[in-house]
Assembly symmetry: C2
Homo-oligomer: 456 residues x 2
C-alpha cells in the first residue's frame, strides 16, 4: 500500500502491539549483567528484594525476542495509544528541504511523555504480586507523574521522592502527582536514614537524583509490601518502551516508507531504546541498515565523553552496578533545563550497541536545542519538551544537510513529550538569558578517576 | 456497521469536515441581530471596522446551512484533528452504571482546548485580507494561546491583552504565548486610552475581561492593518466550532450509536454551540430528539439566573449590544477557578435555543466540579480543565441516575481541554481550601437593574 501520506498516521486499537520486543535476544554481544559491589552477578533473589518478581524476570531475560503484553496493560494502553506517527509537512516546508521528516509523538497523555508506557507495566506487575505500593524518585517530574497515574489506575500507593530543587521550582508537577493520589516528599528528607545523613552532612542542600534514588530504595526495602520502581536505565524499561518502535514500524510499513535516519534524545535511554528497538533488530539480523543517532546534552554527554565501565546507578552507591557509558556516579551535571537527560549513565543495552557501533551519538548545546524547539513549535503546533527538542535539533540539521545535497532522505525522530511544565526554561530562552554548560575536560577526568572500574 | 466500540474512535483525515454547519439556517426563531447603542441594527460596514470582512459575512449569515472550510484552514486542522471520541469504559466501570459514556476530547493540542478551531479560522481570514495583525483579550489564557499559535502559523502579528491578575498568576500561560511570538500586555495598561483612564480611576486594579476587551478593540481600531478577534460569544465562533459536533456525529454514525443526552460546559458558549450544532439541527428539523444540557458555574449562571435582553459584550460598553441571557455587563463574577466560564453573557444563538426550550441548563458548585474532575482523571487518565469538568460533573450525575433507574442511556459530553495550567486550582482542591461562590440574589438584582434593556 502506498497511499498519500496523511499528516498523522493513527493505527487502530487492534494494531497496538500484543508483545513487547526484547532487542537483547537478537544481540550477539549481550549487555553485561548487573553486579554487586564484590563483582558477583546479581541473582534473581537479590534483585527480587528491591524489584517486583515479574520485572526481575524481564530484567534478566536476554533470550526471548517477544514477551506478551498482559491484557490489563493493553487496556490501559488503549486509553492513550496508539500514539500518532506524524509527517512534519509544515517543518519540511519551512526548511525547504527535500527530506521527509516523521516523528513519533508520545506526549498525548497527561504525564506528557513516553514514561507512561513503562509506568503502567510496572504498576501492573506490582499489583499482580499483591503489593501495597511502590516507591520511586523523580527529577523533572515526568516519571513521577506517569507512575502516579498508573498507580491511581490500579489503586496502589505511590511514594515519590522528588529532588528538592524540582519540588520547589515545579510546584505544579508536584500537584499533578498529588491529584493522582501520590505522596510527594522533597528529597533529601527526614523520612529516611539516608536522607537524615545527607541533611546532616550538607544542611540546606537542594538534593540530587542520586540521593532521591537512595531514599526511595531504602523505603521500599523497609516497608512491608513495597518495591522500588525506576523509569529509565534498566533493560526492563527499554523492553516496555519497545511499543514506541513497534507502532512506528507498523505505521511505516502501512505506507511503504523506508526510513534512512532515526534520531532520539538520550538521558537514561528509555525513549531511545524503545524507539530504535525493532530497527536495531533489523540491523543486527542483517536485514536492513539505518543511521541511528542518539542526541545528548553537552552538559551531560555520557555516550560521547563517558567511559564504558561498571558503575553504580546512584550517587549513594546502594544500587547494583551496571556496565554502561558513564560520567561517574558522583557526577553532578550543570543546571541545564532538560531534567530528563541529567543522568550520569546510560542503559546497558544501548551502551553495548554504541560500543559495537550499531548506533552513533552526538551532543548539543541547550541554546541550539531551544532555538530548534521554538522553530518546530511555531510551524508544527506542538510545544516540545526540552528533552525531546534535542532530537528535533539534530533532525533539523540532518534535513538541512539534505537541502545541501539534494537527497530526499526519510528522517524519523522521537518526540518524547510536551513542554507545558517547562515554561520557566522557555522564559529564559525568550528573555535571552539561557546559557550553555558544555562539560569541561577537567570535570570528566575528575569523574572518571573516581569510577570503581570493576571488570566482571 | 456496529463493531465493538474501541476506547478511542479516530476518524481519518478525509473525514475532517469540509464544511462548517451553520445551525442558524435551521432555526425558525433566528437569534436577534447585533445592535448599536441607539437601537439600530449593526451594518456590515460598521462591523467591518472592527472585524475581518469574511468574518463579518459569517457573523451575519443566518441562511446558509453549510459554509466551506478553506483548504488553508483544513490543512492546519490536520495537524491536531480529527479529535478522538472516547468511550469512558473505565469511568463507567468505576461508577457501575449501565449507561454508556462518551466524550469528545478537544485538548490534544498545545493551546490545550477547542479554542484553536476558531483561532485558526480567524487568523486565516485576517491573512487573506492582507492584514498585518490582530488584537484580542484573554482571561485564563486558552484563547490567547490558541490565537498565538494560529498567528504564528500565518506569520501575523498578535497583540494579546491579558487580564492583569492572570498575567501575574499564570506566567507560564503568558510564556507559551510569547514562545509563539505574540506580544502580551497586562490589562489595564498604559498603552491605550481606555487603559490609562481605568488606571487613573482605579489605581492598582487587577483588571477584568471587560477592560481587556476594550483595550484590544481600541488598539485594533487605531492601528493600520489590524482587526479585533474574539474567542467566544459571537455566532461566527459558534460556526467554526461546529467541527466538534460534526466529527462527533460522523463517529457515532460509524458505530451506530444513538445518543440520548448531550452535555457541555457553557461560558460564552463556543464549545457548547459547536458540540451540539448538528444534534440541535436534527431537533429543529424534527428528525430526532436529544436532552441537551448546558452546565454553568453557580458563580456565573447566565442561563439559569440571567435575563434575556440586549446587553453590551464588554464592561466598557464600547462593543455592539447582543440579545442574550446576561447577568449584566458590569457583573464581576466571584474569583472561581474556571476563567473560561466567567463571562456575564451567552452566545445569542444558544440564548435563543434556550429561550425556545431546545436546550436546558443547570448550574454547579466548583467544589463538586473538582471532585468529579479528580474522580475522572484517576480512572480515565486525562487531567481535565476546570471548565470542562463542569460537563464531567453532570455526566457523572446523569450516569448515576441511570444506575438507579437501570436505563442504559448513551451519554455524550464535551471535554473541552486539559488542566495543565490550572494546577494552582487543583492545589486548592487537594489542600481542601477550595470554596464555592454561588451567586447571591442581591447581586443578580443589582446587575439586572443596570441593564440597558433595549428591545429591538
Amino acid at each position: 500500500m502506498n497511499n498519500e501520506i496523511p499528516y498523522k498516521i493513527y493505527l487502530s486499537e487492534q494494531e497496538i502491539p500484543k508483545q513487547w520486543y526484547n532487542l537483547r535476544a537478537d544481540m550477539k554481544n549481550k549487555p553485561a549483567p548487573l553486579i554487586n559491589e564484590d563483582g558477583s552477578i546479581c541473582s534473581k533473589e537479590e534483585l527480587s528484594k528491591v524489584f517486583c518478581d515479574d520485572l526481575v524476570e524481564q530484567e534478566l531475560n536476554d533470550t526471548d525476542a517477544f514477551i506478551d503484553i498482559p491484557d490489563g496493560i493493553r487496556d490501559f494502553y488503549k486509553m492513550y495509544r496508539p500514539a500518532p506517527l506524524i509527517r512534519a509537512y509544515c517543518l519540511e516546508k519551512k526548511l525547504q528541504t527535500p527530506a521527509h521528516i516523521y516523528y513519533k509523538f508520545e506526549g498525548n497523555n497527561t504525564s506528557g511523555s513516553h514514561k507512561l508506557n513503562s509506568a503502567i507495566a510496572q504498576a501492573y506487575y506490582a499489583k499482580k504480586q499483591g503489593l501495597k505500593g511502590v516507591t520511586t524518585e523523580t527529577g523533572a517530574g515526568q516519571w513521577g507523574t506517569a507512575l502516579s497515574m498508573a498507580c491511581s489506575y490500579y489503586d496502589l500507593a505511590c511514594k515519590v521522592y522528588m529532588v528538592k530543587v524540582s519540588y520547589e521550582q515545579k510546584p505544579y508537577r508536584r500537584e499533578v502527582m498529588r491529584t493522582y493520589g501520590a505522596s510527594v516528599t522533597p528529597s533529601p528528607s527526614e523520612t529516611t536514614k539516608t536522607g537524615r545523613e545527607i541533611l546532616k552532612k550538607f544542611p540546606g542542600t537542594n538534593g540530587s537524583l542520586g540521593c532521591a534514588v537512595s531514599e526511595a530504595v531504602e523505603v521500599a526495602s523497609e516497608l512491608d509490601g513495597y518495591r522500588y520502581v525506576l523509569g529509565s536505565v534498566l533493560n526492563q524499561v527499554a523492553l516496555h518502551q519497545s511499543v514506541i518502535g513497534l507502532e512506528t514500524q507498523t505505521a511505516l510499513k502501512k505506507y511503504g516508507i523506508k526510513i534512512d535516519t532515526i534520531i532520539g534524545c538520550a538521558g537514561g535511554g528509555s525513549n531511545l531504546a524503545g524507539l530504535i528497538a525493532p530497527f536495531a533488530g533489523e540491523i543486527l539480523r542483517g536485514e536492513n541498515n539505518y543511521d541511528i543517532i542518539a542526541v545528548e546534552p553537552s552538559s551531560c554527554p555520557s555516550f560521547t565523553r563517558g567511559t564504558y565501565a561498571y558503575d553504580y546507578c546512584d550517587t549513594g552507591r546502594i544500587t547494583p552496578l551496571a556496565k554502561m557509558y558513564t560520567l561517574g556516579s558522583d557526577f553532578i551535571p550543570a543546571p541545564g533545563h532538560s531534567g530528563g537527560l541529567r543522568f550520569h549513565g546510560m542503559n546497558p543495552m544501548l551502551s553495548q550497541l554504541y560500543h559495537d557501533k550499531i548506533i552513533r551519538a552526538v551532543s548539543v548545546n541547550q541554546t541550539d536545542v531551544f532555538k530548534s524547539a521554538v522553530e518546530f513549535a511555531r510551524v508544527e503546533g506542538i510545544l516540545p519538551a526540552p528533552e525531546s527538542s534535542h532530537a528535533i535539533d539534530i533532525a533539523i540539521k540532518e534535513a538541512l544537510k539534505c537541502k545541501e545535497t539534494g537527497e530526499a532522505k526519510n528522517i524519523l525522530f522521537g518526540l518524547t513529550g510536551t513542554g507545558y511544565f517547562d515554561m520557566a526554561a522557555y522564559q529564559n530562552y525568550n528573555d535571552g538569558t539561557l546559557k550553555d554548560f558544555p562539560l569541561e575536560d577537567k570535570e570528566i577526568n575528575k569523574s572518571v578517576d573516581k569510577l570503581p572500574i570493576i571488570e566482571a
